[in-house]
């Protein structure tokens, strides 16, 4: 079973969000352990750029493993304020620590969005 931390929110596309999802807040985004396991060893991450406008449910990057490529969706709308540059050299952090050093980008949220809590996401992947 993959871990689904109770203090995070989730999208149906398998991203997690930490922080208050409300206009004016900055949240951190990554992909869930479930998604990382399904993808296999991530060997390349195409990150969004700082300053990019992202829209909830739309593609903002991609994750490449030896077996598959997966598009990275933004779970929230807003402006990218930071990206995890360490992933350029060590993309395996996404598999090793998806909820910690494997975070992908931060967004200054511009509007409210409905996300799943940990119970709802657990049901989603069951």
């Amino acid at each position: 079973m993959s871990s689904v931390p109770a203090d995070l929110l989730y999208s149906a596309e398998h991203e997690w969000v930490s922080g208050d999802v409300e206009p004016g807040s900055v949240v951190t985004v990554g992909i869930t352990e479930h998604a990382a396991k399904a993808l296999g060893d991530v060997v390349f991450v195409e990150l969004p750029s700082v300053g990019d406008k992202v829209t909830a449910g739309e593609v903002c990057g991609e994750l490449e493993s030896s077996k598959a490529v997966s598009e990275l969706y933004s779970p929230v709308s807003g402006t990218v304020t930071a990206v995890n540059e360490a992933l350029n050299d060590a993309p395996a952090a996404i598999n090793d620590e998806p909820y910690e050093s494997g975070w992908i980008f931060k967004v200054d949220v511009s509007e409210d969005v409905e996300l799943l809590d940990s119970d709802a996401y657990s049901d989603h992947i069951a």
Partner: protein, 400 residues
């Protein structure tokens, strides 16, 4: 869904399981890059029980197979194996096979999991006028592979009897051994990873014991269990085509650069035992008889030879298999279009980031005019053009 006799071993090892050609098989255990590297540097253990296995037996089994497949099987000595293809009358590939000659009247064929049904029915049809019986024995055999530079040490240490015979095996030969635990196994020096390696044919009831023996014997050498994901990147680096991707019913062996599997030249044939029981070859070479696809394949060879000498002669839809290496980090995947000067010249058939080369690699079917090594082509990688360069296959060869 079919399950391997090793299913519970995979689950206990924490493998991620996927559906593959009607089988539930492990795609990875610890991680696909670590598994890939283990096979390149030490050894990996693969459960390939999903591969189709077909027995062809009878006094005319060799003659029947000679007509059914594109290589001469009557000339194959007992103890040897041959890579070949089952083709349609028009030369299109139904499946690629490894044929092992067990005895003068007994062959074992390993086919792709997805194709075993069609291989069995085609062979039955083609063998129907001969004294030969074709039987699907997939569920009577468990197939496991030990692949990597340490494979020889590991497999010989797994043997209670027969280690010397294993040590003496050349590529594409096999022998029978007794493994520790009184387990009979057929051991073949064949594989699909580009490394030295062995495939172990055992009875399903022995599969778990053999798997555990291989893990226990191999672990000190660096052997780890490996899944389908590592198998795919290993075979791609080794430039080995895969049925359903590089090989299809609309490609011939020549399209895939595997024209050498088509054998037409005369050769000495293995004869049934004489009164003294000795098996021997004919004194003089025997002209190879007709085989399914022969005429179409001769024409295909002529076409490909012409295109090789002058690509301008090739029609727009002509295709040959090439290797591609990219200079970005984004990999081309099967189905992506290959472009040259804004013209579509082909399609990617396999592609992945290469763990050994640290660059994206791919195989593609392209027009002969785009097939010379060093040719730059563009691939539409998910909305952005990436340049890739035609490269010689294989991408990776082991040091011999």
């Amino acid at each position: 869904m079919n399950r391997s006799p090793l299913h519970h071993e995979h689950v206990a090892l924490g493998a991620s399981m996927i559906e593959f050609a009607g089988w539930e098989m492990p795609v990875r255990y610890a991680g696909d890059v670590a598994e890939h590297q283990a096979v390149r540097r030490a050894a990996g253990l693969f459960d390939i029980s999903h591969m189709g296995q077909v027995a062809v037996r009878g006094g005319e089994a060799a003659a029947a197979l000679d007509e059914a497949v594109v290589s001469g099987m009557a000339r194959l000595a007992i103890g040897r194996a041959k890579y070949t293809m089952l083709c349609m009358p028009d030369g299109g590939i139904i499946d690629d096979l490894i044929v092992y000659r067990r005895d003068w009247d007994h062959f074992i064929i390993v086919a792709n999991a997805a194709n075993v049904g069609v291989v069995v029915s085609e062979l039955r049809e083609r063998c129907s006028t001969f004294e030969a019986v074709v039987e699907d024995v997939t569920h009577l055999v468990s197939l496991q592979a030990v692949q990597g530079p340490r494979a020889m040490e590991i497999v010989t240490q797994m043997c209670a009897l027969g280690a010397e015979d294993v040590r003496a095996l050349k590529n594409y030969t096999w022998c029978t051994v007794l493994l520790h635990g009184d387990i009979h196994a057929m051991v073949a020096r064949t594989g699909y990873t580009g490394e030295d390696g062995f495939e172990l044919f055992v009875m399903p009831q022995d599969a778990v014991e053999v798997w555990r023996l291989a893990l226990a014997t191999g672990s000190p050498f660096g052997l780890i269990p490996c899944g389908l994901s590592a198998r795919d990147t290993l075979r791609l680096e080794a430039g080995m085509p895969l049925y359903g991707q590089e090989l299809t019913r609309s490609t011939t062996p020549y399209t895939a650069g595997l024209g050498w599997v088509v054998q037409t030249a005369p050769a000495r044939e293995l004869r049934r035992p004489g009164l003294d029981g000795a098996v021997g070859f004919t004194e003089e070479p025997v002209e190879r008889g007709d085989f399914v696809g022969r005429k179409a394949l001769a024409a295909a060879k002529q076409r490909h030879d012409e295109w090789a000498s002058d690509p301008a002669l090739a029609p727009a839809d002509a295709r040959v298999l090439v290797g591609l290496v990219g200079d970005s980090r984004r990999a081309a995947r099967p189905g992506y279009a290959v472009m040259m000067d804004d013209r579509e010249v082909g399609v990617v058939t396999s592609g992945a980031p290469s763990p050994t080369l640290s660059a994206p690699i791919a195989m593609a079917l392209v027009h002969p005019s785009a097939s010379a090594v060093g040719t730059a082509v563009q691939i539409d990688v998910r909305g952005r053009r990436e340049t890739m360069t035609v490269s010689a296959l294989p991408f990776y060869s082991r040091a011999s």
